[in-house]
């Protein structure tokens, strides 16, 4: 526990002294404020001025926006890993009692926990919709898996931090999946099924309708996320062996 605190403080100090990462850290807060205040205001404006109903799109907005902070947290931790790799800090940590596996476990765990908690902030703190806690917990647990996935993706593929920022944009493409799930009403949407967010969006819709299909969707979602994580973890350790 002491070491988790030490590592967290170290990470926070690194983020606070890096303009890009600091901006990325504020983005989830901006997303929350947008959903909490701007969306209701926009709903009222669109209804009064253009007779357009935004409320039916709230489920999509919340589903999509609960995933974006996770991606950002994942990218931040990925950039931290790249920073530490660029400075060869990971090599030194390997020869401390924490070790490389302890270091990796902490990074993935930290990004997961923060993301898990923030999903609750988005779903319940914005007051845009209601979702039973029995669905929110597994949804948050699955969404949060995308944070370590994003971190590992950067750590496994990007050569340095600059390349990491470019890879971040590639990761962003994965979030086309919720759009397809919500707005493509045909079997063509299965084309997006290899993308991890696809299964979460499917589970999200099923949770709103309290459908029994929720559990198969969420379980497949977990399996897809864990499968990707294992592949990336192997590549990460191979790259650092």
């Amino acid at each position: 526990m002491k070491k988790i605190l030490v590592l967290s403080l170290g990470d926070f100090r690194n983020i606070a002294r890096d303009a890009t990462m600091l901006l990325m850290l504020f983005a989830p807060l901006a997303i929350f404020l947008l959903l909490r205040f701007a969306v209701p205001a926009a709903t009222e404006f669109l209804q009064n001025e253009h007779d357009f109903q935004l409320v039916p799109y709230y489920a999509f907005i919340v589903c999509f926006m609960s995933m974006i902070p996770t991606m950002l947290f994942g990218l931040i931790f990925g950039l931290l890993i790249l920073d530490e790799r660029d400075e060869d800090i990971i090599t030194f940590i390997t020869v401390t009692p924490l070790g490389k596996s302890g270091y990796t476990a902490y990074k993935l765990f930290a990004s997961y926990v923060i993301s898990f908690l923030f999903v609750f902030v988005v779903i319940y703190g914005t007051h845009l919709m209601t979702l039973e806690i029995i669905y929110t917990i597994p949804i948050a647990a699955a969404i949060a898996l995308e944070a370590p996935l994003c971190s590992l993706f950067l750590a496994a593929f990007a050569e340095n931090k600059v390349a990491g920022l470019a890879y971040g944009k590639i990761i962003g493409l994965m979030y086309i999946a919720p759009f397809i799930v919500f707005f493509v009403n045909s079997n063509w949407q299965l084309l997006a099924s290899p993308l991890p967010p696809y299964w979460i969006a499917k589970a999200f819709i099923a949770a709103l309708g309290k459908e029994t299909l929720f559990w198969p969707y969420i379980l497949v979602g977990f399996a897809v996320h864990v499968g990707f994580a294992v592949i990336l973890l192997k590549k990460f350790f191979k790259a650092h062996s």
């Binding site: 002491k2 070491k3 030490v6 403080l9 170290g10 100090r13 690194n14 002294r17 890096d18 400075e87 060869d88 800090i89 090599t91 030194f92 940590i93 390997t94 020869v95 401390t96 009692p97 924490l98 070790g99 302890g102 062996s241």
Partner: protein, 284 residues
Amino acid sequence: MIEVKKLKFTYPGNSEPTIRTIDFTIPRGEIFGFLGPNGAGKSTTQKILIGILKNYEGYVQVMRQEPKNLHAEYYESIGVAFEFPNLYSKFTALENLDFFRKLYNGETKEPRTLLALVGLENDGHTRVADYSKGMKMRLNFCRALLNNPEILFLDEPTSGLDPVNLRRIAGIIKDLKSQGKTICITTHDMHVAESLCDRVAFIVDGKIVLINSPRELKLQNGIRTLKLEYREDGNIVKKDFSLENLGENMEFLSLLKNKNIETMHTQEATLEDIFIKTTGRSLL
């Protein structure tokens, strides 16, 4: 303290081994130096000893542990300073030391004391990004002492240091030896090896070609003569004398008594001479 027998290592993807069967032992309290040109296998050997490279062949024991199967406790007892300072550049020196010391479970040294030891006591609050190379090397060195280790692995510890700080770091290393610490140094600087190490191993192309104390090597490979210079009628006169029965050599004794001697040197070999003679290679 360290025992290595028939060690071999090939980097993944390489067809040729980097380490080709080397043997050595390092007893407790010794400063042992690996001397060799770049790419000879010095750092690779050290990486095996500290458990970074595990896919080796042969028998390796460090503090009665096999580096292939090390546990976290091992790292409580060793200190490592890599060749290139790997520090958080956005942190100050004190923040760096404070961060790393908390990764250890055992008792650690006070960062300010360590900074003072290497002459950085007034730069503790400076970010490492603003440090010169020599300052980073000193910080890198003192970080290796945080956990009061039993064995220190130092890779080119004096690289980039000015003469004053080189002497300071050498002094600290000698102090650590007097405290019973075992120190394993890799270097291609023969002066460092000569002045610091109890024994050196010449390593070339992944093989140890010679192990001995610098003093023995210098004596064995030197010429047993004494070269003397004095001035006579404004001219420099050079004379060579055999060291055998030098105290009974009347000419030598007469010169000492009657002439103003300007220089007098025995002709032992330098480590660099011996290295080149033994390996046919230069150190750089």
